[in-house]
Point group: none
Chain length 197, copies 4
Amino acid sequence: MTAPKKNLIYEAALSLVYESNDFSSIKVADIADRAGIGKGTVYEYFQSKEQVIGEALLYMWEQALESFALFLEENEGFKEAYYGFLRNFKMQLGKNRHIYKLLTMNPASFSVPAAIEAFKFRFEEMREKYFALLEKLAARSVSEGIIKDFPSRFDWQTAILSSLTCIYIHQHFPDESPGEEAVLDKAYAVYVKLLGD
Amino acid sequence: MTAPKKNLIYEAALSLVYESNDFSSIKVADIADRAGIGKGTVYEYFQSKEQVIGEALLYMWEQALESFALFLEENEGFKEAYYGFLRNFKMQLGKNRHIYKLLTMNPASFSVPAAIEAFKFRFEEMREKYFALLEKLAARSVSEGIIKDFPSRFDWQTAILSSLTCIYIHQHFPDESPGEEAVLDKAYAVYVKLLGD
Amino acid sequence: MTAPKKNLIYEAALSLVYESNDFSSIKVADIADRAGIGKGTVYEYFQSKEQVIGEALLYMWEQALESFALFLEENEGFKEAYYGFLRNFKMQLGKNRHIYKLLTMNPASFSVPAAIEAFKFRFEEMREKYFALLEKLAARSVSEGIIKDFPSRFDWQTAILSSLTCIYIHQHFPDESPGEEAVLDKAYAVYVKLLGD
Amino acid sequence: MTAPKKNLIYEAALSLVYESNDFSSIKVADIADRAGIGKGTVYEYFQSKEQVIGEALLYMWEQALESFALFLEENEGFKEAYYGFLRNFKMQLGKNRHIYKLLTMNPASFSVPAAIEAFKFRFEEMREKYFALLEKLAARSVSEGIIKDFPSRFDWQTAILSSLTCIYIHQHFPDESPGEEAVLDKAYAVYVKLLGD
DNA sequence: CATGAATGAGACTTCATTCAT
DNA sequence: AATGAATGAAGTCTCATTCAT
């Protein structure tokens, strides 16, 4: 029965990560408060504050990857899948605009807990999985003939991250941006333009 | 003659910002050490740690904008100017890969010192100046016929940020990326592809 | 069970107040040391050093008033009550000769913590209670016929404070003063002379 | 020409003593500011903050004693002299109600600078002078027949301090007290009652 | 298991004092 | 003689972590 309590702590920690944009300013007391448990209890499940936050971030990514993988299985066509991917990113970003770095798997975002060697490795693993899924997605665009030649890893990374950047700009400057749905078309177009012949 | 001492502190603070990726983990003692001055001296020039870091970030941007503006004046042609812009970003990113958020003027990066209202305003001002320069740059690509129609603000923002994303990926995964010079061509191509007909 | 720990801190703070005669020179570390607790623990019970000292002074007065009230109830006759009152003052003064201002309820003595508005009010309350008891005491001297007419507030205040002054001088210049018991007679006489016809 | 500068510092320090009621909270920077001189200059004339305040207090007393002595010489009759004495005390107290301890020559008020041995001695000297003058004043009341027998030192000290207490109460509770002039009569009456047969 | 009172290392900040100008 | 920039010792306060209950 420890799993649910750990998750409680993860969710609490993550909600604070979303708000603070600054790992070291997050307080254990706040995590405990938000999780509705005692401060001491946190230390029954984790060794240190660093570990709590590190594990919480990995937990977030595990969840995200799992549902991403599931989603890819359920949606065969590239376009629907890509729109779904964008839509999910948009939603996450809507919850918290500070989270861009985390959502784009920016290694820098793991700099604090990465102090502990174990995290570096586990994060690397996670990134591999993430890129494997993205590659699978990119592969579909080729097999469906939307993109002619299979792009290099560098190229599809650039294309996908640019798509996300497009959505990021939309979130930051909603006034100067196309509508909520139109931005998805824009972002999709970015991918096609960058990888199209 | 207080300006040089203030600058000394700015440089010290910034070098720590580059390293730590986490504002609140920076210690006043470290700033003072790195500036080669006493702890108390920092407080002769600033009211609080928050202010030191906030002002230092603004200082960094002021410097960057100034040299950017100068550079734009000195380089008439779009392509040279754009390559110069990319080269500069690449160099900055080379110094510190955590700094992407700051370099892309991500408002979130200012979230800590922005607690003080004054910072919000000054940062906003800075961003306006930055975008004004970027728009000027984009305008050149139109006047030189490289881009047909003048793009919307949203579109050229997306195009330029995607260019930078391209370089960002290069820095993070140098093994899978084109050479140091080739990446500039790639980044330039991103801009042209996204805004070309 | 936090009350005893708070009281521990009060006693520690007061013993330092007695010694230092200068609020702002009292150190939190000293309070903690003397209370036999950790520095941080003080901040579990109080918000700031100022608050510790302010509350401690109020605590001292609360205690004093309580026992004074009890004493008045137990001693019916004016003379015995008055002697008891003087004796108590003498004893307090014996513990610390700097404390005169505090013992005479001099509002100035509260000037430091009174910076916080709440203290002003609570101190005012305390002073009212104190004067109510003194008035009750004075009233007895009238009802017993020791004093003819009921004196004005100003007059009995002057009389009582002069009594205390008498004891104060005794403490400061023991060589030139009457004996330990004789001074009480002197002080009592001061009261009677000043209010007697 | 150093005398006037020293005096400037004394006046500045004293004005802060009047306001703060707490020696150790007075800052050298404030003294210098108020004296209109540089911080470093203070240390040209004094060795330490403690010394500044200690000397300033002694300076105040020297001034006061000098004018008191002069006043006694100029006013032959006891009653006029006593009223003058009271009036002066009242005026001083009007400037600052925290100063009671200082004005009544309470040794406790010198506790901080008294840490330096030299001060203890000089203060003792000053008190002797002060009491000599008070005794002279008391002697007049006897020689003029207002008081029958020459009172003991303890008795006239009590009488005079009670007079001052009377004025002190007037200052603290003006609403419940007699008028500005009437209080002098009251205070005079206190003296007479306490020492009269 | 769960707690939260207690702790003290360590961070921020102040300010008396120095000293080069 | 006068200054005030620079300093660092020392004080206030925070908060991650422990541990007795």
